[in-house]
């Protein structure tokens, strides 16, 4: 109701997405826009963020609040969340998508690189979640959806990345139990190989080896992840919490880099 006692139209659900300028983040943002969500978008890259925000605004007409943020800077993250809540009238869905990858074998891993990946991927997720929690509690059907990775199951040369993603899975189990009575669900999505500008920079022969190891016979697309996000983000998905859902074409149960059989 407004101050004159008139019933107000319900606002669209609002989602805040970190890493929105990246391949998967952009795919999630575009898909949620198609479904009518208002969007708060954040990324370290201001230029990339503006491009995504402008494209979504022009093609879908939904309201977008875009603000660059450094996940290592708590104030910067809080400002981006606050801008979304202020402009869009609340917050229902947090999608923790931002992350970096910097692989090396244990003996060659620079400790500073190990720490950097933890800071961005894990501490960034914790900081963003803390910033968003008050608004999510107010939603009544809040959703926290965090992108881990198939690497959460363990990955060669990726102790830092795997640890950061395992940390997200671990804290999500705790939060799912602690926030259940607030109507907030907390889930993780663990993508396998997803075709993005970053993954396309890998050598062609490596991509082909990966493709052959994926039981469904193709690499994933950002939309594969985005559809899973949309399912979990829906207000009707309140009975699913504390889960980690691999979106990997079956590779999480087939083993990595093993050649698929020629025929079933």
């Amino acid at each position: 109701m407004n101050s004159d006692g008139q019933r107000l139209a319900p606002r669209p659900r609002v989602a805040f997405i970190t890493g929105a300028a990246g391949g998967i983040g952009r795919g999630i943002a575009e898909h949620l826009a198609e479904l009518g969500y208002s969007l708060g978008l954040s990324d370290l890259s201001e230029t990339g963020l503006r491009a995504v925000a402008n494209h979504i605004t022009e093609t879908s007409g939904v309201t977008v609040s875009a603000r660059a943020a450094d996940l290592a800077d708590r104030e910067s993250v809080q400002a981006a969340v606050d801008a979304t809540v202020s402009r869009l009238g609340g917050l229902d869905v947090l999608v923790n998508c931002a992350g970096i990858l910097n692989d090396a074998r244990i003996e060659k891993m620079d400790p500073a690189v190990f720490r950097q990946v933890l800071d961005v991927n894990l501490i960034g997720m914790l900081t963003t979640t803390a910033a968003a929690l008050p608004a999510l509690r107010h939603s009544g059907s809040g959703r926290i959806i965090s992108l881990t990775s198939r690497a959460w199951l363990g990955n060669f040369g990726s102790t830092n990345y795997a640890a950061s993603k395992g940390g997200i899975a671990g804290v999500s189990r705790s939060l799912s139990l602690g926030l259940a009575t607030d109507g907030i669900t907390v889930n993780c999505i663990a993508p396998g190989f997803i075709e993005t500008p970053m993954s396309n920079s890998m050598p062609t022969e490596i991509i082909e080896r990966v493709r052959q190891s994926i039981p469904v016979g193709r690499v994933g697309q950002p939309l594969d992840v985005a559809r899973t996000v949309a399912f979990l983000a829906d207000a009707g998905s309140g009975y699913i919490t504390g889960q980690s859902i691999p979106v990997c074409g079956g590779r999480s149960i087939s083993g990595s880099m093993r050649k698929a059989p020629a025929s079933a």
Partner: protein, 165 residues
């Protein structure tokens, strides 16, 4: 560099292991953060990053000895079972423990080509209780390298009927 067979490292100890003798069997113990820190109030670097950096630094410091020991090389991580399964009151302990689980899985994968093993053991309240120490003795026995990348609860079954992380 001098070597010894067995080293136990408390992840609350952030002292760099630069001068510690290298060992082929490394046991890392996580006991949880002091108090009940929350996402809002905690020093996340100290509560979350520091123990994980200690774990990585320790494994890296001992890595040559672990890999050169071939099938005798071991990494074992000990952590509270409640933090592994999800404790609503201790989100940061759960973050650290979840990270340690994925870390040791990745260590196991890297160690596989050298013949060694890496596992996680979860305790109820005390990492020194007999069920835990006997399990560590088994996992670090000479012919136990085939047991690797596993997460084992030595805590009277808190995981029974629950999905593992």
């Amino acid at each position: 560099m001098t070597t010894s067979a067995f080293t136990t490292i408390d992840l609350a100890d952030t002292t760099p292991p630069a001068d510690a003798p290298a060992s082929s069997v490394v046991v890392l113990v996580y006991r949880g953060a002091d108090g009940d820190p929350t996402l809002d109030t905690a020093d996340l670097e100290r509560a979350v990053v520091d123990p994980l950096m200690t774990a990585f630094s320790a494994v890296q410091h001992h890595w040559t000895a672990i890999t050169e020991a071939r099938h005798r090389g071991r990494v074992v991580i000990l952590a509270p079972a409640s933090a592994a399964l999800g404790d609503p009151l201790r989100p940061l302990d759960c973050a650290v423990t979840g990270a340690l689980i994925s870390f040791v899985r990745s260590v196991a994968i890297e160690l596989q080509r050298h013949g060694g093993g890496a596992n996680a053991v979860f305790y109820a309240t005390d990492p020194n209780e007999p069920a835990v120490t006997e399990l560590i003795a088994t996992l670090t026995a000479e012919h136990a390298a085939a047991v690797t990348g596993q997460e084992i609860y030595a805590a009277n079954g808190p995981d029974l009927g629950r999905l593992h992380p």
